[in-house]
Every structure is written in structure tokens, then in C-alpha cells.
């Protein structure tokens, strides 16, 4: 549990002197092989590698398997497991109270795309500075296998019940709602998950990652687009993502014209996107929407940084708050003067 100066000098420490084990959480109680545990590991890795201060992190979640995971990383960060589908409002409140905190929310497809759809939309619309991860497995695990709103159309439960409704695409939804950082990835692609997470940590608004995270118990069968097998076979990367943190000198590798794109993030970090099969511009909202709709229509599994707007005004900016968090303001900064009350009373006389 102990962190920082209380530790003896360690060999493998990050730039703030912490070991990777300092970012560990409780032992997971999820099913062995659950995609969520892989994502948990990538969260630990990316926070560790970027040297994020765990004391300044707030971990939030709703209800469901995915929402249990904040207990499994960063024990020395405050955590809040709220109510089903309502993590966005809790997180918004946390940020309003203390915008210095690095807020990470973990949700599932039920928690986000069903019960929490409204709050999710309004969170991204406000551009509340936080990381919002959807661990998307297309199924309700904790309640034993019911369809979620991201379940494949036409898929069947063991009981024979079939899902006739189209799946909600969380990425195109988020972009439509004004999300300023939208990525899709796969729990079985740890490298990409880490790169995207680091990008999230350098973003000033809401960053949303829709990560396909197979449920080994209820939705890992052949044909499920949320299974390991299908995702591995079908994952098509939009680009190779390299993350260059602001505190590292930018490598000056010369790429050929048109070979890569670079996005400068709010904190001075860079996301370098190396071109693969297509030339994808993640700064184009319309392009992103077209790509996502085409991929959905042809059942393609595209992953990568779908959309980013690194300069959009965050919710905190638009509220015109000062540097100091509201939660830390002492009484003399909050309590108007006697003259102020007199003035108000005079007006009412």
C-alpha cells in the first residue's frame, strides 16, 4: 500500500518513483479469462508508465461486471462504485468539486448503452474531463447472460431467445453526442489499448474507449462478434498508434509524406498514427461517422482512434472555475460579507 518517499529505492520505478506494483488493486473476482481483467492490466500499465499520481486519481463505476473492476487497480486511489447507469453524473459531480483529479470511469455495455444511455450522452455532450471506458461484451454477465443493447442482431441465447434489435454502436453515438476523444479497441490487443489509454490521459475533455471485452462465460461462442476468436480474426487496425508523452523528447523519425499523422494533445503529448491500409483522418467528424457506419454495415471490426478534437473547450473551462478546486475553498472565500447581506436586505425592503 505504501507509496512514494516511504518506499526504499527501487530499480523499476516510473518518473514519480513508483513501481508498477504501486498501481495494483485487489485480486479480481471475475471469471478466469475475462476480457475485463486484461483491460485492468492495461490501465495499470498506462497509468504506471505515464507516472500518474494515484493519490490524484478518482475511479468511478456503475453496476455490473465491468463496474467491479476499479477495485482491481490502483488501491491508493479513491474509488466509487455507484448505482446502475449513473456513473456519469457522479463523475461530473466529482470533477465539479475537484477538477484537479484525474477521473477514470469504467462501465459496461449494459451500464452505458441501456440503463445509462441518457447520462452517458450528456456526459460526453458536456465534455466533462474524464476517461470513460466501456468494457463491451454484448451481454449482462452478473445477471447471467441476458442481451445488452450492444448484442449482435440475430444472436441467440441458450434458451433460444433471439435478439431482433440492432446493436448500438457506442463510438458513433459518442461522436454524435459531441465526444471529443473516441477510440475503439479490443481487450486482446493490449498494445493498442495502452496507446489509446495514454492518449486519454493527455486529453482535456471526455475521452471514451469502447473496448470489446469478451465474456468467457456467456458470450464467447462461435459467431459472436464479441468473442475472442471472432475479434482476433476480424480486428482491422485503422492505424498503428504511438504515444509520445509531453515529458519525452519527440523522436524525429522521418516518415514519408502521407505515412503518418500526428495529433498534438492538450498537455503537449503527441499521438502518432501510422498509416495502414487506409488514410484515416481522426480529426474529421464526418469522416469518422462515415467510416463507422460503413464498418457496421459490412460487419467490419475497425479499431483505433476514431475521432479526436484536442482543442475543444471542456466543461470545467465553460464554468469559468478558478485554479483551486471548489472543494478546497475555505469559508472566507465562500461566505459573502456583512455588507453584501445588508445590500440584499435593503433591496428587499
Amino acid at each position: 500500500m505504501a507509496v512514494g518517499e516511504q518506499q526504499p529505492k527501487k530499480k523499476n520505478v516510473n518518473r514519480i518513483g513508483l513501481a508498477r506494483s504501486d498501481y495494483a488493486g485487489q485480486l479480481s473476482t471475475l471469471c478466469s479469462g475475462c476480457g475485463h481483467d486484461g483491460i485492468t492490466n492495461q490501465i495499470i500499465k498506462s497509468f504506471y508508465e505515464l507516472g500518474v499520481n494515484p493519490y490524484q486519481v478518482a475511479k468511478l463505476s456503475g453496476i455490473g461486471c465491468a463496474s467491479k473492476t476499479p477495485a482491481y487497480f490502483m488501491n491508493t486511489s479513491h474509488g466509487f462504485n455507484g448505482v446502475h447507469g449513473r456513473m456519469p453524473s457522479l463523475a461530473t459531480g466529482v470533477i465539479l468539486a475537484n477538477h484537479k483529479l484525474i477521473c477514470i470511469g469504467v462501465s459496461g455495455d449494459g451500464d452505458t448503452a441501456s440503463i445509462g444511455l441518457g447520462q452517458f450522452c450528456h456526459l460526453v455532450r458536456r465534455n466533462v474531463p474524464m476517461i470513460y471506458i466501456i468494457e463491451n461484451n454484448g451481454v449482462y454477465g452478473l445477471t447471467k447472460g441476458q442481451f445488452s443493447a450492444t448484442a449482435d442482431q440475430g444472436s441467440k441465447l441458450k434458451t433460444g431467445v433471439s435478439n431482433e434489435l440492432p446493436a448500438i454502436d457506442c463510438c458513433s453515438l459518442a461522436i454524435e453526442m459531441g465526444c471529443t476523444f473516441v477510440g475503439r479497441s479490443f481487450a486482446g490487443d493490449p498494445k493498442q489499448v495502452v496507446s489509446l489509454l495514454k492518449g486519454c490521459l493527455s486529453h482535456s475533455g471526455t475521452s471514451m474507449l469502447d473496448i470489446i471485452s469478451p465474456c468467457v462465460t456467456f458470450n464467447n461462442h462461435d459467431g459472436s462478434t464479441k468473442s475472442y476468436k471472432w475479434a482476433k480474426e476480424h480486428e482491422e487496425l485503422l492505424h498503428q498508434i504511438d504515444f509520445i508523452p509531453y515529458f519525452d523528447p519527440i523522436e524525429t523519425i522521418d516518415y514519408l509524406e502521407g505515412e503518418s499523422r500526428e495529433v498534438e494533445m492538450h498537455d503537449g503529448s503527441h499521438i502518432r498514427l501510422r498509416k495502414l491500409a487506409r488514410d484515416y483522418d481522426p480529426m474529421s467528424k464526418i469522416g469518422a461517422m462515415r467510416t463507422l457506419h460503413e464498418a457496421a454495415a459490412s460487419n467490419e471490426f475497425l479499431t483505433g482512434l476514431m475521432y479526436v478534437n484536442p482543442v475543444a473547450k471542456s466543461f470545467v473551462d465553460s464554468l469559468d472555475l478558478g485554479e483551486e478546486p471548489l472543494c478546497g475553498l475555505p469559508q472566507d472565500r465562500l461566505h459573502p460579507s456583512r455588507e453584501a447581506l445588508d445590500e440584499i436586505m435593503q433591496e428587499l425592503m
Binding site: H78, G93, V94, L101, Q119, L321, Q331, A340, I344, M345
Partner: protein, 612 residues
């Protein structure tokens, strides 16, 4: 238990033998919603107030933007009675749609001042009628049709002033105050009000007994609505995160808070806001934000009415069980469901006290006066942080949206009670921390805030079962222990919430119990019972839930106890029945639930019926 309802017998005024009636009357202005009568109604009310006569002003309005009937009632009372008076003495009829019905509902001997075109005097011969061509008067000075309609309202202010003896200098002062720096509006409105007065002088000789004359009962007083008073309390209480969703009759609380915060809570050093006010997507999100902010250490609040309270049930349970401070204002209106959204009620008592599933009980504060709206709203933030719980402030439409006189609010001197929060230094000193351990035996544990730089600081907040160290547990004994501690906390709260106000009268056998806006009519009713029937009454005013032991003592000291409230089931009465034990048979209920604010005469009649 019996509840009796009766037709009220209003005193009939005999036209022949009328003596003057001075400083004791009610005026009802019947207009159309959205016609701009708000200015003239307020100016009329303020003019009377400035003459030193105690007043109250109520807006009875429809759930509509414009076009439906609306009534504004002013009561002027030399005795200082400010509750709704059942009988209308002076009707100002400007709305063709309701004029006939309004006139027919008056008791004989009353007065109708009306737009001449409505031709109302033929309807009855037992009232005094003053036809006045308000729109013609306005047309003399304004050619623009829309403006003429607005200004015509000011003509009735002048006419009424002339008829009742309101001094025109006070009308002018009130106009200046209302329109502030809009010089053109000031001049125009003053001019029209004088024309209204002049018409009466020339054409309408006074034949009714009602008169107002200067007295000195309002010197130094303010006029404010409860929602603004609550907003001021919240501002002085150090609210920093305010989240809300529009709903009548609660919206004006946050709206006036926005105004006040923009004036008084911009940091002079940085020019930055020391608050965040967010209009949420619904009441669930509004409370979620407040809870998130409370968890992270801000003084957070939300404000709503019954339907919002219903939506907040789940989150309230979370805040209760995970022990997170936040303040929730409920400006009650008539339910269930959409109910009558623009009518008053005290129907949320059960909801608030027990909100959410499982064993939950919450602290509820019941302000009854403007001073208490200010004070309780401020104190609610202390209680929330002290107890790490949601605290409800239960106001209602009558308190919240109507105009009340009050003494200017005292400047709050107390230091905020930020509760048991451990800093990194504290943790270093203590060397241990368990989030949910009852260290002090008062049921209230210690907490840390996210961002605290110490390895012991972090804990995991959850709405699921947890042990003293905030770890997930399903152990039966841990769960029971936790539930008992939460109850212990509620016991502690009994010593911290506002205590009831109690008045024992020598020899009185009857005890009245009321709370919130019902209190406004109780004093007048007790005077009626004493003066008209010689019946002395004791009185206990509940100011908070949970009940304190004073309530039980009061019931046992009175032979008969009448709980007066504004809901159908007698919700607070039922809570009392659970609490009081052996004294239960002494308790009867007096209930008003039409959506109109309770009036003293009703209470008096009900008490007499139950006493008979």
C-alpha cells in the same frame, strides 16, 4: 380517528349597517396568465406594505405560459395575519373568462372593481360595483396595442389606491423600486396610475366600507419569497456545487441562486466563480452530480419538487448507505404524479423521511418562515457534512413562491461545520484509518477526500454491503452492525436538528401540532379560538424529522392533540402515531389538501367540530 370536512360559513356583510373596515381586507386580482399583471400586482402590494400595513401576496396561477386565468391575492391585516383568507373582499376583475364566476363566488357586501367593458354590475345586486374603463384610460397615453395592455394594469393600481386610500406617493415609490433604472417605464406607469386614480375621483364615489390607513407595522421589514430566502441561505451556507432540473415550484430557487451567486460569489482576486451551477438532464443526474461533488468534498445541493424526489429515490439510498453529504430541497406541490403542479401541498413527508428502498430514514427540515428558510438552508450544509448524509429541506409552493414579510436576515457568524474529514497530516499522526468505524460512539465515522496525499487515505465507496474498512462483505453480522450504526447516527441527529417550538398556555387542554407553511395560519386560528370561543390552545411546531422527545412530552401533557397539515393522509400525524406510543388515542388529524394554502377559519372550524 375522524376527519371532518365542512362547508365554511363566511360572515355576511349587511350593506345597510356597514361600519368602516380598516386595514383588514383581502384583494384578489383576476387576470390572464402572461398579461403583465405581475408588475402591477407587486406594486399594489408594496404600496400597502410601505404604508406600514402587514401584507402577504399570493399568486394562484395555472400550469401554462400564457392565456389561462391567474389570480393574485393580497391580504392586508393590521393583526399581522398573513395566511390565505378564504373570503375575497375586493375583487379586481380584468379577465372576461372568469369574471362571471369570480363575481358569483363573492359573499354579499363585497366589492368588485372591474373593466367597464365586462359589464358585471347586472350580475348581482348585493355587491358594490365600480366599473372603470382601464383600457380606455391607458389608450389616452399609449398608442401601441401591446404596451397599452401592459400599462392598463397600472390604471387599476391607481383606481384601487384611490378607492382604498393608498397614498399615491407610495404607489410612485413602489413603481420606482420595481422598474429601477428604466426611467421611461417609471414615468409612463406613474402617469397611468394617476389617471386611474383621477377617474375614480371624478366618476366613482366611494360607497364600500373598506379602507386602508397608515400604520407602523412594517418598518424595517423585507418582502421576500421562500425560494429566494433558501437561495440566500445556500449561498451563505457555502454551497459550491448546485445541480438542478427545472420544475415548478422549485425552479426559482436555483434561478435566484444563480443571480445571487453571480453578484456575490465571484472571487474578487481571481475574477473566477467560486461555484458551479449545472442544469442537469434530469433529477437523477442532478442528485448524482450533487452526490459526486459531496463525496469529493464540496458543499453540494440540488432542488426539486415531488416528481424529482421520486426520481431521486435510488441515489438517496446510495448517499444514505455510503454516507455522502448533500442537501436536497423539496419545494412540495400537489401530487401524486403530475398532480396539480402549481398548487401547494405538504404531501412529501413520508417520501422524504423514508426515501429509497431498504431501511432508510433521513433528516428533514421544515422551515415555516422566511428567516427559517434562510437559516435552515444554511444549516442544512453543516448537518449534511456533519452527518455525512443527504439532508432534506422541505418547503412548499406557498412558502417558496409567494411573497412574505420578514425581518431582515441576521448575518450568520458561525464557522462552517465541515464534519469529520481527515487530512494527510491527520493520517500521518493517527497511523490508521477505517472509513466506516464508529470511533466516537456517535455513529458518525471519519472520511477522507479523494486527492489526499497519503497511502492510508484511499477507500472504496460502494452502495453494496461493506465492513468498517469499506471492503465488500456479505457477512450477516457486518451488515447488522452497519445498520445499527446508521440508526445510532440518526439518534445523534435528534440533538442537532432544529428543535420544535413549543408554547404551553395555562389551563389549555388542547394541543395543536403543525409544521411548515401550515404554521402561517395557526396563529390566526388560535386567536380566533381564544377570542371567539374562549378556547385556549397549546402549540407545538415541528421543525425537523426525526422527532425529538419534546414531541412525546407535548402529546402526554395535552388532553387532546390535533395535528394540522396539508395532505390527505395526515402523513406527519402518522409518523407521530408511530413515535408517541401510549398517547396515541389523544391524536386527531385536521387535513387540508385542495391545493389552496390552508386558512385559519378552516382550522378553527375543524377544531370546534372535533371539540364538540
Amino acid at each position: 380517528m375522524v376527519t371532518i370536512e365542512t362547508e365554511s360559513q363566511a360572515p355576511v356583510l349587511d350593506e345597510e349597517s356597514q361600519a368602516e373596515i380598516v386595514n383588514d381586507l383581502s384583494i384578489q386580482v383576476a387576470t390572464v396568465n402572461g398579461s403583465g399583471s405581475q408588475s402591477s400586482n407587486n406594486i399594489l402590494m408594496r404600496s400597502i406594505f410601505q404604508m406600514g400595513i402587514p401584507i402577504s401576496g399570493k399568486n394562484l396561477f395555472p400550469s401554462n405560459i400564457a392565456g389561462l386565468p391567474t389570480w393574485f391575492t393580497i391580504r392586508a391585516s393590521k393583526h399581522g395575519y398573513v395566511a390565505r383568507k378564504k373570503e375575497i373582499d375586493i375583487l379586481i376583475a380584468l379577465n372576461p373568462e372568469t369574471a362571471k364566476e369570480d363575481v358569483e363566488s363573492l359573499t354579499p357586501g363585497r366589492v368588485v372593481i372591474y373593466e367597464e367593458k365586462l359589464n358585471l354590475s347586472r350580475l348581482r345586486d348585493d355587491l358594490t360595483f365600480y366599473p372603470i374603463p382601464f383600457s380606455k384610460i391607458a389608450a389616452e397615453v399609449v398608442s401601441n396595442a401591446r404596451l397599452r395592455k401592459l400599462v392598463a394594469n397600472m390604471a387599476y393600481v391607481g383606481s384601487v389606491a384611490e378607492l382604498l386610500g393608498i397614498e399615491m406617493v407610495e404607489v410612485e415609490t413602489a413603481i420606482c423600486k420595481w422598474f429601477k433604472t428604466k426611467q421611461k417605464a417609471v414615468e409612463l406607469n406613474i402617469k397611468v396610475s394617476h389617471l386611474g386614480a383621477e377617474y375614480v375621483r371624478k366618476h366613482s364615489p366611494k360607497t364600500d366600507p373598506y379602507r386602508l390607513e397608515r400604520m407602523n407595522q412594517t418598518q424595517g421589514k423585507i418582502i421576500i419569497d421562500g425560494n429566494s430566502a433558501c437561495a440566500l441561505g445556500a449561498m451563505f451556507g457555502g454551497a459550491t456545487v448546485v445541480t438542478w432540473y427545472p420544475i415548478t415550484p422549485a425552479s426559482s430557487l436555483c434561478e435566484s441562486l444563480i443571480d445571487y451567486m453571480q453578484r456575490y460569489r465571484i472571487d474578487p482576486k481571481t475574477g473566477k466563480a467560486t461555484f458551479a451551477i449545472v442544469q442537469a438532464e434530469d433529477e437523477i443526474a442532478a442528485l448524482g452530480m450533487a452526490i459526486g461533488a459531496g463525496w469529493a468534498g464540496a458543499r453540494a445541493m440540488t432542488s426539486t419538487s415531488g416528481p424529482g424526489i421520486s426520481l431521486m429515490a435510488e441515489f438517496t439510498g446510495l448517499a444514505h448507505f455510503a454516507e455522502i453529504p448533500c442537501v436536497i430541497f423539496d419545494i412540495q406541490r400537489l401530487g401524486p404524479s403530475t398532480g396539480l403542479p402549481t398548487r401547494t401541498s405538504q404531501g412529501d413527508v413520508f417520501s422524504l423521511h423514508y426515501l429509497s428502498h431498504g431501511d432508510t430514514k433521513h433528516v428533514v427540515l421544515f422551515p415555516a418562515t422566511m428567516e427559517e428558510c434562510f437559516e435552515f438552508s444554511r444549516v442544512a450544509f453543516d448537518l449534511a457534512e456533519h452527518f455525512q448524509q443527504p439532508i432534506f429541506v422541505a418547503s412548499d409552493l406557498d412558502i417558496g413562491m409567494n411573497n412574505w414579510m420578514a425581518d431582515p436576515f441576521d448575518y450568520p457568524e458561525m464557522a462552517y461545520d465541515r464534519g469529520k474529514v481527515l487530512t494527510a497530516e491527520d493520517l500521518k499522526r493517527l497511523g490508521e484509518f477505517d472509513r466506516y468505524r464508529d470511533v466516537d460512539g456517535d455513529g458518525i465515522p471519519y472520511r477522507t477526500l479523494p486527492g489526499t496525499e497519503h497511502p492510508l487515505a484511499a477507500y472504496f465507496t460502494r452502495g453494496s454491503g461493506h465492513d468498517e474498512s469499506a471492503r465488500y462483505t456479505e457477512k450477516p453480522e457486518e451488515y447488522e452492525k452497519l445498520m445499527k450504526r446508521l440508526l445510532r447516527k440518526l439518534e445523534t441527529a435528534k440533538n442537532w436538528v432544529p428543535q420544535p417550538e413549543i408554547e404551553y398556555v395555562d389551563g389549555a387542554e388542547v394541543g395543536l401540532i403543525a409544521y411548515g407553511s401550515t404554521d402561517i395560519a395557526i396563529g390566526e386560528s388560535r386567536d380566533q379560538l381564544r377570542e371567539e370561543e374562549g378556547l385556549e390552545t397549546n402549540y407545538l411546531r415541528i421543525r425537523a424529522l426525526p422527532f425529538t422527545k419534546h414531541v412525546r412530552d407535548f402529546v402526554s401533557r395535552c388532553k387532546r392533540v390535533y395535528v394540522v397539515e396539508q395532505n390527505r393522509d395526515g402523513q406527519l400525524g402518522d409518523l407521530l402515531l408511530l413515535e408517541v406510543g401510549p398517547g396515541v388515542h389523544r391524536i386527531e388529524k385536521i387535513l387540508a389538501y385542495s391545493g389552496l394554502p390552508i386558512d385559519a377559519r378552516f382550522i378553527t372550524e375543524q377544531v370546534l367540530l372535533l371539540e364538540a
